[in-house]
């Protein structure tokens, strides 16, 4: 290639590829007059999570060894659920035909243990129900603000469409005593995932649980409890915190006066464990984060 041709090529490259294309057209504006960037901006992890690392470096291997069940032979096929009516009968062909003896999803065996399906925390749900919200739904504001403070979550926060933030829970059924109507807002819940979930768990274990009076740990049933009951076959561990525990969270502790009402809450640890005995696997996982358990 001659020198002249090389120079020509360089000139073309500079004009087409080498130069940064300047944005000349002004950015579109949203309804508040703010510029809309031409790429989606999403906030992802902003820090290394201590407990998440603890899970991956320490707990994961141990949990696999603890929950491993040696199955050298392949499993026998599970018995097919018998339907209540003959499905071939023209009369019952397209009718509701539930299995005989009801739904038995909780009798299913857990999947074979592999390194891929080790029990893992998926999300933590905080939930509270305020009876005072029946009289005035404005009473929910305290709980909403407290949950936003505790979780740091808000709707579509950081450009993530799946972030739901703090949600209002409405009454589902007609209250037995008739004190709540169907569809009436009576509670608040929030789902925590990812690093924020682990941060909340750390706060709970380090600051809140040690300060509770006469607290032995999360209640746990005796060993004689069957493993194939609906609760024992879901990989969920739930417990409740009393109203006075709210002030022990450091986020609330800085200004407890701003929350006129203190309320208790349910905390659900939701894991990926399924099948018979899944709850015990979930307990093994949670106790690895130093959450205490005690036999009731």
């Amino acid at each position: 290639m001659s020198a002249a041709a090389a120079t020509a090529t360089r000139a073309v490259a500079q004009t087409t590829r080498g130069r940064i294309k300047l944005i000349k057209k002004p950015l579109r504006r949203d309804r508040y007059g703010l510029p809309i960037p031409h790429v989606d901006i999403i906030v992802r992890d902003t820090h290394l999570s201590r407990l998440q690392d603890h899970y991956h470096n320490t707990l994961r291997d141990d949990l696999m060894y603890m929950t491993y069940k040696h199955e050298p032979a392949s499993r026998k096929p599970q018995k097919q659920a018998k339907l209540r009516f003959d499905p071939e009968d023209p009369y019952t062909k397209h009718r509701f035909n539930p299995p005989k003896g009801g739904n038995t999803w909780f009798k299913q065996l857990p999947p074979p243990t592999t390194s891929e399906n080790v029990v893992q925390l998926e999300r933590i749900q905080l939930h509270t129900m305020l009876e005072s919200a029946v009289a005035s739904r404005a009473n929910l504001l305290t709980a909403i603000m407290a949950f936003r403070t505790l979780s740091g979550e808000s709707r579509e926060a950081g450009g993530r469409h799946t972030a739901e933030g703090v949600q209002i829970v409405t009454a589902r059924t007609l209250g037995g005593k008739g004190w709540a109507r169907r569809g009436q807002p009576i509670g608040v819940k929030v789902d925590l995932k990812g690093p924020k979930m682990y941060d909340f768990l750390g706060t709970l274990v380090d600051f809140v649980l040690p300060k509770l009076r006469d607290y032995n740990g999360l209640p746990m049933e005796g060993p004689s409890r069957p493993l194939d009951s609906p609760s024992a076959a879901t990989g969920v561990v739930s417990f409740g915190l009393p109203p006075y525990a709210l002030q022990f969270f450091p986020q609330i502790e800085v200004n407890p006066d701003m929350y006129p009402e203190h309320f208790g809450m349910h905390i659900h640890f939701i894991t990926n464990a399924t099948g018979v005995g899944a709850q015990n696997k979930a307990r093994a996982l949670i106790s690895g984060f130093q959450v205490p358990f005690s036999r009731a």
């Binding site: 902003t46 290394l48 690392d53 470096n57 491993y68 050298p72 950081g158 450009g159 200004n255 701003m258």
Partner: protein, 309 residues
């Protein structure tokens, strides 16, 4: 090679036949000879190994009886958080800046009494963090005025509160990391450490290996693992065998029916106290440090059982 092996084992046998008779298991182990055995890391190697020689007893069927041994991989889990890699640091910093730029306005009125000392101190801190994230303060007219108003107030606040209390951070590197002390349990705080001992093998030679021992009559494997660990490393430590399931099995030689089952354990407190006779030295090592110390066939058998990080 085969002839050498045979010679080695005959020498080994002369030394340790009496010592080994207590370790032998007379039970016939059916599961080991079944073809469906699918345990994690079965390594087949063919050279000298730091383990007792196989017995010469023959069962009724004419095959050698298998001998079971247990070994314990005693682990110290990480005690400090991991140092983020330069890439992670950049990534986290980038997303922290996006978050800082886009987050909802902080509700000062909700968290602080207006005009309180704490509020002034928090605003001052926040300005520092803003400068750290996005460089120097923007010199627009409004911010300059605000800054001029707030600055003396903040300075006064800090004076009144007596300044910040001194916060000293402990160095991430322990003293033992600097002087190369491999016996200290505080070394390499962010890594998993495994206990390796310098112990006699069957031929009386000292080699680096994991604590190991035989089974007694009618003893379960995980119980034997606990007993053997204390027999070789002393009872002055709290340990916990993680699972009743072995995490791997190592067959030192394909011709002999010797199987070493590895158990995972964690140390909670205390330290190893070798007896000085059978076991002379010990070291807490990361996976990468173990490789040059142990013999090659042994390394190939155990490397998949150790924590990478």
């Amino acid at each position: 090679m085969g002839q050498q092996l045979f010679d080695l084992y005959s020498v080994v046998l002369m030394f340790s036949r009496s010592a080994l008779s207590s370790c032998r298991v007379s039970r016939k182990v059916q599961c080991l000879s079944s073809p469906t055995r699918s345990l994690a890391s079965v390594a087949s190697t063919s050279s000298a190994i730091p383990s007792p020689p196989p017995p010469r007893q023959k069962s009724a069927s004419g095959t050698l009886k298998p001998v079971l041994n247990t070994a314990v991989i005693l682990t110290r889990s990480p005690i400090i958080t991991r140092t983020p890699t330069p890439f992670e640091r950049t990534y986290f910093g980038y997303h922290a800046r996006i978050q800082r730029a886009l987050h909802n306005p902080f509700p000062y009125d909700f968290y602080f009494k207006p005009g309180s000392l704490l509020e002034g101190r928090f605003r001052e801190k926040e300005r520092e963090r803003e400068r750290e994230a996005f460089g120097g303060p923007r010199k627009t007219s409004t911010t300059a005025e605000e800054g001029a108003e707030d600055a003396p107030a903040a300075a006064k606040d800090v004076e009144v509160l007596g300044g910040e209390e001194e916060v000293t951070t402990v160095p991430r590197e322990h003293e033992s990391d600097r002087n190369g002390d491999v016996k200290d349990l505080n070394r390499q705080g962010e890594r998993n450490l495994h206990l390796l001992i310098l112990g006699k093998n069957a031929s009386g030679k000292h080699v680096w290996r994991f604590p190991q021992g035989g089974l007694e009559q009618d003893e379960l494997l995980h119980e034997a693992a606990q007993r053997d660990l204390h027999a070789e490393c002393g009872a002055k430590m709290d340990t916990w065998i993680v699972s009743r399931n072995p995490i791997g099995v190592h067959q030192p030689s394909p011709e002999e029916q010797l199987y070493v089952f590895f158990y995972k354990a964690r140390i909670l407190s205390g330290q190893v106290h070798p007896d000085g006779n059978n076991v002379t030295d010990f070291a807490w090592l990361t996976k990468q440090e173990i490789e040059p110390r142990v013999e090659r066939p042994y390394w190939l058998g155990i490397k998949d059982m150790l924590a990478d990080f």
